[in-house]
Symmetry: C2
Subunit: 192 residues, 2 copies
DNA sequence: TAGATCATGTAATTTGTTACATGATTCG
DNA sequence: CGAATCATGTAACAAATTACATGATCTA
């Protein structure tokens, strides 16, 4: 059992349920009504994923039968799940992830706040920055080639470059913001 | 047969083969070596998709057996495929597409150059701009909410806002560039 | 009290991923 | 002449989408 690696959706579920336990419908609402919306809120994706994670021992499943209502299955992060989650949170941003899983790097950033130390967060952002900068450089090399092609192709390429440059600026702001804050939640202020 | 709507990959295949016919491996190379890389270059995605499109009558499949080499199946855009492609190219950008299919709106832009008139392109960009602006406005409303949450959540939200604002700037530049060029390829300079 | 929407899912189908298979050609 | 890489796929499997199903509770 237990596929080696989890999907982005599964990681998102671990992260969200790690913040506060909830049911499939709670997750559905988050995906429906917050900017996390690029995940599908379709039940056919969420419920089976929760079940998979529970079967794999990464989530605890608990039946909630207060009162009259239909019983709801409430999921919370199991210990093994914490391990897997933090392992994922510590993964560096790669070119591959940048290109093939847009949003994943940012998702990881937004879920690491309470689980990684400030130093780790800064390291993560530094790696993020490097990966983006390298990709921008790669895209620049296409520019000459694209000049031979059509106008739209060139513009589309420039869209990509601009987008990632904008990401770079954000990363710098984010580093400053993280830095400005005192020692992180898990930062364990230097003893005494 | 013929599912109602095509996937983004299938639309991309129609667009690429509409520019110049080619084999599955040619497509693979494009996805592998150009910034179109967010499509999977895996043969398991490409070859079946080509077959589907050929079966549906949107692509023409032709066996190329020059000389010694293994025969390659060369695909080109069929007439029905042109219709479907142009139909898709004329679709407006929606919030849904922006959120759930990142990259699709830009792909459409880059494939419409030789098939839509300059006026249509400008209209498309105008719609694109509106959709992005509306989405930025939507994200702004979350900002207040996010202040209650953690720092990372707020930063992630601001990343989204910054990214789409950057997209707005690009759209303006693109409109200017398209406009600056003479009457478009399909623009049929005013008679005489 | 009828209709919406909350809350929970299941099932059929399609798509995409990963891994494998195969033969030709080019490179060291 | 052996290894890489070009070029073509197939097969098994996992995952996501779409559509359906069901009952409770709120609301006009």
């Amino acid at each position: 059992m237990a596929r080696e690696s989890l999907t982005t959706l599964e990681h998102a579920l671990l992260g969200l349920l790690g913040m506060s336990p909830g049911s499939g419908y709670d997750i559905h609402k988050v995906f429906e009504r917050t900017p996390l919306a690029h995940f599908s809120s379709s039940p056919g994706a969420i419920y089976p994923a929760l079940k998979r994670l529970a079967r794999a021992g990464l989530l605890d499943e608990e039946m909630d039968r207060r009162a009259e209502a239909r019983p709801r299955r409430v999921y919370s992060l199991a210990e093994e799940g914490e391990g897997r989650l933090e392992e994922w949170l510590r993964e560096q941003v790669t070119r591959e992830e940048l290109v093939r899983k847009p949003g994943a790097s940012l998702l990881r950033f937004s879920l690491m706040e309470s689980r990684l130390s400030k130093a780790e967060v800064v390291t993560y952002l530094r790696g993020f920055r490097e990966a983006v900068a390298a990709y921008v450089a790669e895209l620049e090399t296409y520019r000459e080639m694209a000049k031979g092609g059509g106008l739209h192709a060139l513009l589309a390429l420039e869209n990509g470059i601009a987008e990632y440059e904008c990401e770079l600026e954000w990363i710098d702001r984010a580093m400053a913001a993280v830095d400005a804050r005192g020692a992180g939640h898990r930062g364990r202020r230097k003893r005494r």
